[in-house]
Structure formats: structure tokens, C-alpha cells
Symmetry: C2
Subunit: 210 residues, 2 copies
């Protein structure tokens, strides 16, 4: 397709597409003349990835670094996926695992295997510290209630991950992390509402019915 069609397919204006090309986050089309190039589904998908990251507040520099890891995954796929997902929000100051006492305690309690130097550990530390500061610290009981369910969800995610080509694996890790998190959060809120309605109805029945 031509650039005008690519713009229509993605709902992204031509000047923005040209900006992505200049920044090198969108790969060049196949040139058919000095002024015409053809684009394909790979370009549609890449633009969708850029939009997904930019609506989540990532800067062009951050998007570039993630796209760079997808385009050149490097020797270790695991290290590349780690680096790409580490670049996703929320941004946490890099801290060593040693500086994450709450997270280390929590992860030990729920028997999670934790690779060294994972930024999500710092993210967990901050989230646990916030809950503590607000007077609703995460209890070990709550953690044990949550952990196996989160692990089952993650196990499904990882089982579905394409391993080849490496670019697909990295892209899956990036998109799966940023796009399914809000879906999971919304589902939890919806489930809360349904279950709270049930519990409140039961409690009203206890009071008025017994």
C-alpha cells in the first residue's frame, strides 16, 4: 500500500508517519520510484506498537530503544525481553535487589523464581511501600491468596509466546505487558462490583431476614 493508504489503515496522519520514518522507529517502505514507496502489514503493526507505547507516556527516545531491541534482539532472547519490558512504565529508579527488602520478603513468601536485577522487583518494592504508607500494608495472607492466580495468568501468557523469530517474542512481551495489564485491572474492578453487590445483599439478608 502507499503511504496515504497506510495513514488511512492506521488512522495516523501522513506527517506523523513521516516523523516515525525520520526517527527510525518505522522501517522504510519498499521504494518503487524516487518518490513512492510501498508499505505492508508489518508497517501497520509497527505503527500500532508505536501508538500503544506513546499513548502510555513513553518518549520517542524510549520507544526507539524498545523498537531497537525488537529489530536487533541480540544474543540472549531472555536478556532482550528483559531489557525491552524494563523500559515500560511505570518508570522506577534502578535499585539493586538488595535495596528491595519488602519485595524480596514477599517473593520469598510466595515461592516465585526471580531472575537477578529485574526492574519489576523495584516496581513491586515501590507498590508495597505505597500500600504500607497508606495504612493498608500487603499482608502475607493476601499475597499468598493473589500469587498462585497471578502465576497462572503469567503461565498462560508465556505458553502463548512465539519463540521465533526473536523479534516476535520481544514484541509479544512488550505488547502483552502494556496492553493486557489494563484489561486485567478493569476485569478485577468489574469482578469487585459483582461480588460486592452479592456480599452486601447477603449481609442485608442476614440483618433483615434472620
Amino acid at each position: 500500500m502507499l503511504m496515504s493508504e497506510l495513514a488511512a489503515r492506521t488512522s495516523v496522519p501522513v506527517p506523523t508517519i513521516k516523523y516515525y520514518l525520520r526517527e527510525g522507529v518505522l522501517m522504510p517502505g519498499r521504494a518503487s520510484s524516487a518518490t513512492r514507496a510501498h508499505y505492508d502489514d508489518g508497517h501497520v503493526r509497527r505503527i500500532a506498537l508505536i501508538r500503544a507505547l506513546s499513548t502510555r507516556g513513553l518518549s520517542m527516545a524510549q520507544i526507539k530503544s524498545i523498537v531497537g531491541l525488537i529489530d536487533e534482539p541480540g544474543e540472549s532472547l531472555f536478556a532482550t525481553m528483559g531489557a525491552a519490558t524494563a523500559a515500560l512504565p511505570p518508570r522506577t529508579e534502578f535499585v539493586s535487589d538488595h535495596d528491595c527488602p519488602r519485595a524480596r520478603g514477599a517473593l520469598a513468601a510466595v515461592d516465585y523464581a526471580v531472575p537477578e536485577g529485574l526492574p519489576a522487583v523495584a516496581q513491586l518494592e515501590h507498590a508495597l511501600a505505597d500500600a504500607e504508607a497508606a495504612g493498608v500494608p500487603m499482608t502475607e495472607e493476601r499475597l499468598r491468596a493473589y500469587a498462585p492466580h497471578i502465576k497462572s495468568i503469567a503461565a498462560y501468557d508465556i505458553a502463548q509466546m512465539p519463540l521465533e523469530p526473536a523479534a516476535d517474542a520481544v514484541e509479544y512481551a512488550v505488547l502483552g505487558t502494556v496492553l493486557y495489564e489494563p484489561i486485567l485491572a478493569a476485569l478485577r474492578r468489574i469482578a469487585h462490583a459483582g461480588l460486592a453487590a452479592e456480599r452486601l445483599a447477603d449481609s442485608a439478608a442476614d440483618i433483615h431476614g434472620g
Copy 2:
């Protein structure tokens, strides 16, 4: 405790505490003279709530409306909890359930009981639309894999909810929603890393070992 001690306990400066008092989000202390008032653990907890909401980007007006619902829960506890959690980020334009075709389809597929007019349904619709636009639409299979686990997590949350006084129930709903979401997201990312390491090691063994 005096205001200076309250500031020390909460790590919130005295001028900020005075601002909270002026805005009416922090309840007044017990006056012991024209210029002295005493504060208690309820004030510490309220300040923590205000901080938790403000670091998540809520404006003072939004915090006021949530605090107002905690202080005066109204006739229906369920409606009050719904209104309070609806004020939490992410902000979604109000839309009727009728305008959420993806969310309605998804929720029907996983057998979630959904109260009418729940903002989280619009939040789910947006999240599903984002995933679709990025070329990784939520499949019904993935939804069915996630849904029972999220429901189990929500069931634990709701079972722990205090029902009285109503203020505690509303505060629990607000804090539990905003503070445990990032914990769940971090746990999922950590579980991903552990499981991806395992799967990649297995796959390397398949290639090199067989």
C-alpha cells in the same frame, strides 16, 4: 499529637497539612486552645489516603469528592463504593454500557455478573480497543484463561472488606483498588520473567539436547 508531630509521622510538611485542612479533605483536630489542636491516628491515615490519591495524579477536586463519599457514605453503601471507585484513574469518558460492544461481549463470555453503568466497563472497552488496534486483540481463549483467576483475586478482596462502619468499607474499596493494582501488575511481570526463563531454557534443551 500536635501538628508538628503529625507532619513528622506522615513526612508531609506542615504547610501541606494546613492546605489539606483548608480544603476540607483532612478533618480538623481536637482544639485545646485557640492556636493548638490535637491529631490522632485517623488523621495519619487520612493523610496517607490523600497522598496515595495525589501521587496517582488525582486533582484536589477529585480527592475531595472521594473523601466526601468516605465521610458521608449515603444511603446505599454499594452505590457509594461504586461512585468512589469510579473517580479513580484511569479516567474514562462516561459511556453507556450500550457503547461498549467489546466489553459486553467479553463479559458475557466469562460469565461475570455486571452491575449497570459501571465505569470499569468503559475502562475495559478502551483497553480491549487498544489491544485490538495494536494487533494483539484479546481472544476469547485468553479471556477465559484470565477470568477465573481475576475473579478469585477479587473474591479474596471482597471477603476481606469491612462492612461497618460504611466509611471503612468505602476507604477499603478505594485503597484496595488503587494500591493493589500496581502490586498485581508487578507480580505478573516478575512471574513472566521466571516462567520465560524456564521456557527458553527448555526450548534451548530441545534444540541442543535432542
